[in-house]
């Protein structure tokens, strides 16, 4: 395979096709619309299902229906659209169905703007709808990682019969980078045994998230929680840079993670012992590893494109062992590496002064 110059939204769309995507339902919203536009042509070429829905509410419920058939299905949207999808996401989670949702996050709250943001962290990692559950949330920091995580998202969704959200910010969706797409894989031939395809030569299948008795509903929840514990144990993913001798650990994901990496390089050039942890799964959050690192470093600095949302997970993981500082920009502003370096230097010197 060869590297080609690819735009994030297009790269995710083609990666999904190559992962065996059989049905896509979506609604236009900036900054993810190219994904929908690309698939409107590509899915038709392959005689697969593409449909532009009348709303995000309808789109996610079409995904819910298509997921019942046992095929690989996806939708994509951006923050206000993801808000509208909360209902369907909860039903999909409650019905134990696999599907992939792309959230190309933009500035909020409300209509906000179309600039890159990480303001949906709470919305997508906590439950993404009513009830007790967490989606698996993957946070790519480059076009290549967006491609790789798209493949991974479908595999995890199928493996756990679970909702997977690919959470990138508008910058990942809109920028072009050299990246390599995986080879084409064909959609699977045999549907899973729980799929709704007509009760031919077997008892009927029912897909529902309705349990009238408290006992049955609790048993259903216990099963979901058991699955979540397994995911939490097995699936946390992250990358570390210069953590071996770090005194100050920066924690940042997605585009903020890339900016933080540039700041880290500059800080190291200045002789500061700075490390970086970049979570690739926002749920499950890599809390165990962060807790280990907190034993070794003197301070954490969380950098996000929001008012401090992952910050809460970092505080939970570090359990008050060390100070946790925060640097964030809001409103769709991507921080520069210079301002992150300045934040690093300020806290680093402050820690050294008190050491």
């Amino acid at each position: 395979m060869t590297r080609e110059l690819l735009k994030g939204n297009i790269a995710i769309a083609e990666a999904a096709v190559r992962a065996g995507l059989e049905a896509y339902f979506g609604y236009p919203i900036t900054p993810q619309t190219e994904l929908l536009e690309y698939l409107s042509v590509r899915m038709n070429e392959l005689n697969r299902v593409f449909l532009q829905a009348e709303s995000e509410v309808a789109a996610i419920n079409m995904v819910y229906g298509a997921a019942c058939t046992g095929v690989r299905v996806m939708t994509s949207s951006s923050s206000p659209g993801i808000s509208l999808m909360q209902e369907g996401l909860s039903y999909i989670a409650g019905a134990n169905l696999p599907c992939v949702v792309v959230d190309m996050m933009r500035g909020g709250p409300g209509l906000g703007n179309i600039l890159p943001s990480q303001g949906d962290y709470f919305q997508i990692t906590r439950s993404a709808g009513h009830g007790d559950y967490h989606p698996i949330v993957l946070a790519p920091a480059s076009v290549q990682e967006a491609i790789d995580f798209t493949t991974l998202a479908f595999d995890l969704a199928d493996q756990y019969r679970h909702l997977v959200i690919l959470a990138a910010d508008g910058q990942i969706g809109q920028m072009m980078e050299p990246a390599e797409l995986p080879p084409m894989t064909e959609p699977r031939k045999t549907p899973p045994e729980w799929a709704l395809r007509g009760a031919q030569d077997r008892p009927r299948n029912v897909i529902s998230s309705l349990f009238m008795s408290g006992e049955a509903e609790e048993a259903h929840n216990i099963a979901i929680q058991k699955r979540l514990r397994k995911i939490k144990k097995t699936e946390p993913r992250w990358q570390e840079y210069n953590t071996d001798d770090a005194q100050l650990l920066v924690i940042a994901y997605g585009s903020a993670g890339r900016v933080a990496y540039s700041a880290l390089e500059a800080a190291r050039a200045n002789g500061l012992k700075v490390g970086l942890m970049r979570p690739q799964t926002l749920w499950p959050f890599p809390e165990e590893r962060l807790s280990e690192l907190a034993d070794r470093v003197e301070m954490c600095l969380v950098v996000e494109m929001n008012a401090g949302q992952m910050l809460e997970d970092v505080r939970l993981a570090t359990g008050g062992q060390i100070p946790v500082q925060f640097y964030g920009r809001m409103g769709g502003i991507v921080p520069s590496s210079e301002e992150v370096l300045k934040a690093i230097e300020t806290h680093y010197n402050h820690a050294a002064h008190h050491a």
Binding site: A23, E54, A58, V73, G198, A199
Partner: protein
Amino acid sequence: MLQVVAQPIMQTVYQRPECLTDHHTHYCPGCTHGIAHRLLAEAIDELGIRTQTVLVAPVGCSVFVYDYFNVDACVAAHGRAPAMATGLKRVLPDRMVITYQGDGDLVSIGAGEILHAAARGEHITTIFVNNAVYGMTGGQMAPTTLVGQKTTSSAQGRSVSSTGYPIRMSELLSSLDGTAYIVRRSLHDPASIRKAKKAILTALKVQQAGLGFGMVELLSTCPTNWGIAPDKALEWLETNMLPYYPVGDYKVVPEVAAL
């Protein structure tokens, strides 16, 4: 001596359709959901499509249809059955996809989904049970509640000045080019019930033939929430609902004649 023994001729003339499970339904005495279920089940059996059918349940009194029908089934979010059915049918174009929805589900919260599914001409069949009230939540006003009709959320009678007018969904949807078969029938007497059965059969054939979106609206009773005895409820339907919701064929494309 030759003995002649009369052999009684036994023939089954009425039985539970194969398409219905042996669950007892939870419906109140006098509710016409049971009749609507029976008609749909008979139609599915007669067409021999039970093993090719996926049924989408609504939220409302008929949420448990998946317990009563012996077919693959799922439960949609409130009002979203047509969107869910769209997802199912687009992936499985050779299967029969049916939504069963009440008036709160279809006309109120799901107005957008049914409208667009109909406009797209989705090859699905919708059984729309209209009893002019929210049943499961205990008799609140629906978009189909008649002017002046008393409900638990319009205790003084539905007022036009604050809530406007009841929506005639069959008439509304029939204006859309994507629809192939939109009819309204009633379940208040045996003759009407027989006509309703025929309409459901036709609607399923419309889906089989891929002619476009099909819906059968069934005027129904809700004795419990109307606060009327079952026999009087049938009369109430005839007297009050039929004038506002006339039974009839609102959209029948020419191809239906050949089915």
